[in-house]
Symmetry: C2
Subunit: 479 residues, 2 copies
């Protein structure tokens, strides 16, 4: 834990235990800096984090105050998951498709959606970049921009790695149709039918679907909601099941939101290197951090080319453009060939438009605004969950991304909530779709990446009533 | 054979046998119309076809004349292929990737390329459509245009089916990242690891790669260079191997260029319906016909939803945009779900740009010009092959598309030609990459979709010398 995180945790503890109460003024930055023996910048970072979490509020020229409704925020879940120690042949349920399809219409409240609001993105500026680049398109770009992809765009991506302290060569970058394709191509490059692959528990349903499609079994490994996959359990799973690869999200994991600490990421990479097991790292949420800098991915600690790093612009800049990439280390050539034989290439004008946008600048400014918005929406959302959901509900407070993982009281039927909510025009992502064994029956993943408004609040209130209705007693209630 | 085709065949016969000689004037349209008892329009169509094939030339206000260098055009191959009657586990060679990768640089003469020249396409007008649509992009289109795809574009595609006399509902159309993805999604929807699938012999190498990737075996069925797969042999293969699907190109087959006659397409569909075997129909070249109308696909004769029709705009309008589609009949939902779990969706701005372009009109005008250009380039190319290649060479004369299939004298080593040509800056597609057993060792597929110029002629001359050098005697020659 870093200094500012430790300071924030202390202040949060004081708020939760009632030492500090709603409306109380926090000690000034100068005072805290002196009393704790840390820099003013550390105090600012801590206060900024607390503000992002909705625990404190700044008043201009007056300092920071404890937020009014702080006691409504539910506590975070803290137990590591306990999946069965098995290699599981997959059978993706209809339900995943129901969820996907239900969140694809505008008129449903999109708490079950995998996407943040499209209104959060600089679509007008992207459109200008697209217009400028489309009208000056070199005809031969249709040949030149074939896999591995447009050179200018790959250079821009390499520059971003560099800005984050990572040396990823332009030649290692393969442009794909979004991160989902990058992940499936990486999987096909390292695993064959009959192999098994380690995933987190719970895990993103699309990884289960991808494994199923090529006949690969899943090994679900215990995972902590904040700190990620359990390394001891992973070591055990490696010894027992001899997996061909791991497929993990180490930063703002979907659905939990967990952020694996950097020393743990390093230990993960070292463990896998020892066994020469490739790590497919899904890192699509990393740019959506609420802290002071982009969390380093496991890729940053890779010295052997064993980490296949996958990301995209879909969550942070250009949804719908379907431009992602893989930086697959020693598997780069294999991944490029998988791409050539499946979809050949990403869309040339979309690649060029993003390259143009990135060259013109403004991406970082957009990201700062986007992060602030998401952090604020998380705070509001978490407070609403605390207000409307049954006692005993827990919810993660990720330090980035746009998902809350909500654990309802043991015995609550999340699938029943999903069905009834959908009938009422509200989508949620019920826990069982994030597991090969359909565990997490009392959990929901909620998307806070859409603007908070009266309709959203009403929908959360409805979900709260449904959670009560489908709770441990399963009593029917009229809505 | 239609009337105009029969008339054209008669005239061609007269030319080949020397009854009509270079420079001779053909009978006038009116005269021929009377003497043959056909309409003037039929005679025009026949003469137009002969002109497209480079056999005759029009002189303004003077009529049609036999072209000067007609005897140089090589005869067409006429024997049905004879692959082994086996179901073959695939092992795609490095060579396919070598070819693909070698044709992806501008400085190589692209006879081995799978793409026509990008200069043939209305990229400026597409860019205008892209600019207009990108700047008025509705943010929610990033949600609305997810699979199955942009509604306006799907409607435009349905309208084109309708114009060709086919009723394909908008809801049956799934937009994909090019036809290659459409084909692989259709394959995944109907076949599983361990199954076997019928392909033509020779067949497009990408289909072999796709089968290999998901562990499906290939059954290569005898195929005639002009008339397509042999139905008797297909029936035999069905009885013996119980294939889960057929994957065929019935129109301008790659690499042969064959066009299955419509009654045969109908018989094919009926045969497969009898056995309830789905047909994955790759129809990407259909718009590039040189005759009077778009050849009907097998899909046109399907009454049971068993034909999964795949096409794209990559070959006829917008290379590099990577927009294709499937119309998968009863498998539509399965294909859409495959798409959702692999690449999620095609690029929204690229979809919208094509919809805008198609709505604005001008596609048909562009196509007419494109067809004329390709027909002329085929004639020039075929004559150059006749002039420079060894005696005994045969070459197909497809009625559309941009590939010639060249059969060199038995014993010629096409792979050696490929290797040596590449070292000299010329790419070709050698026969063995079109077969699971690496047959067709004396064949080349040549792309005539690029402008004919001095460099191209010199390259054909070089290939002719290489063909001589690696011919049956395998004598070394200095180049």
């Amino acid at each position: 834990m870093k200094r500012y995180e430790a300071l924030a945790a202390d202040v949060e503890e004081s708020i939760r235990t009632g030492v500090l109460r709603p409306g109380d003024r926090l000690a000034s930055v100068r005072h805290t800096s002196t009393s704790r023996g840390v820099s003013a910048s550390t105090v600012f970072q801590a206060y900024y984090l607390l503000e992002a979490r909705g625990l404190i509020r700044a008043r201009e020229r007056s300092g920071y105050y404890v937020a009014g409704d702080i006691r409504k925020v539910p506590p975070e879940p803290d137990l590591t998951s306990q999946p069965k120690d098995e290699s599981i042949a997959l059978d993706v349920s209809e339900r995943v498709f129901e969820i996907l399809e239900s969140s694809m219409t505008r008129d449903v409240v999109p708490f079950g959606s995998a996407f943040p609001s499209p209104l959060l993105f600089p679509l007008a500026r992207l459109g200008q970049a697209m217009a400028a680049s489309a009208q000056s398109l070199d005809p031969w770009s249709t040949v030149d921009d074939l896999t591995p992809g447009n050179a200018a765009l790959r250079r821009q991506i390499a520059l971003r790695y560099l800005a984050d302290g990572m040396h990823v060569h332009t030649d290692e970058i393969v442009i794909t149709n979004g991160a989902l394709e990058a992940l499936t191509l990486c999987l096909a490059a390292v695993a064959r039918p009959g192999d098994s692959v380690v995933v987190e528990s719970p895990t993103f349903y699309a990884s289960l679907q991808a494994l199923e499609r090529i006949g690969v079994q899943a090994i679900e490994v215990p995972t902590h909601p904040r700190e990620g996959i359990d390394l001891t359990a992973l070591e055990h799973a490696i010894a027992r099941h001899k997996p061909k690869a791991c497929w993990l999200m180490t930063t703002f994991q979907n659905p939990l939101g967990g952020l694996m600490p950097e020393p743990k990421k390093k230990a993960l990479v070292e463990l896998l290197a020892l066994h020469q097991i490739p790590l497919i790292e899904d890192d699509v949420y990393a740019e959506l951090y609420f802290g002071d800098k982009r969390p380093a991915p496991a890729k940053a600690f890779d010295t052997q080319g064993l980490v296949l790093h996958c990301s995209s612009f879909s969550k942070c800049l250009a949804p719908g453009y379907r431009i992602g990439w893989a930086a697959p280390g020693r598997f780069t050539r294999a991944v490029a060939r998988q791409k050539l034989t499946t979809t050949l290439s990403a869309s040339a004008p979309a690649q060029l438009a993003l390259a143009t946008y990135l060259e013109r600048g403004g991406f970082d400014k957009h990201l700062r605004k986007l992060r602030r918005t998401l952090a604020e929406q998380q705070a509001t959302f978490a407070q609403a969950v605390g207000h409307y959901f049954p006692a005993g509900t827990r919810a993660t407070r990720p330090a980035g991304g746009y998902f809350l993982w909500v654990e309802l009281p043991e015995g609550t039927d999340a699938l029943a909530i999903h069905r009834q909510a959908l009938a009422l025009g509200i989508s949620v992502a019920p826990g069982p779709i994030f597991s090969a064994t359909r565990a997490f029956t009392n959990c929901l993943r909620l998307n806070y990446g859409h603007a908070w408004d009266a309709r959203a609040e009403q929908a959360i209130a409805t979900l709260g009533r449904l959670a009560q209705a489908h709770g441990p007693s399963h009593a029917d209630v009229s809505l």
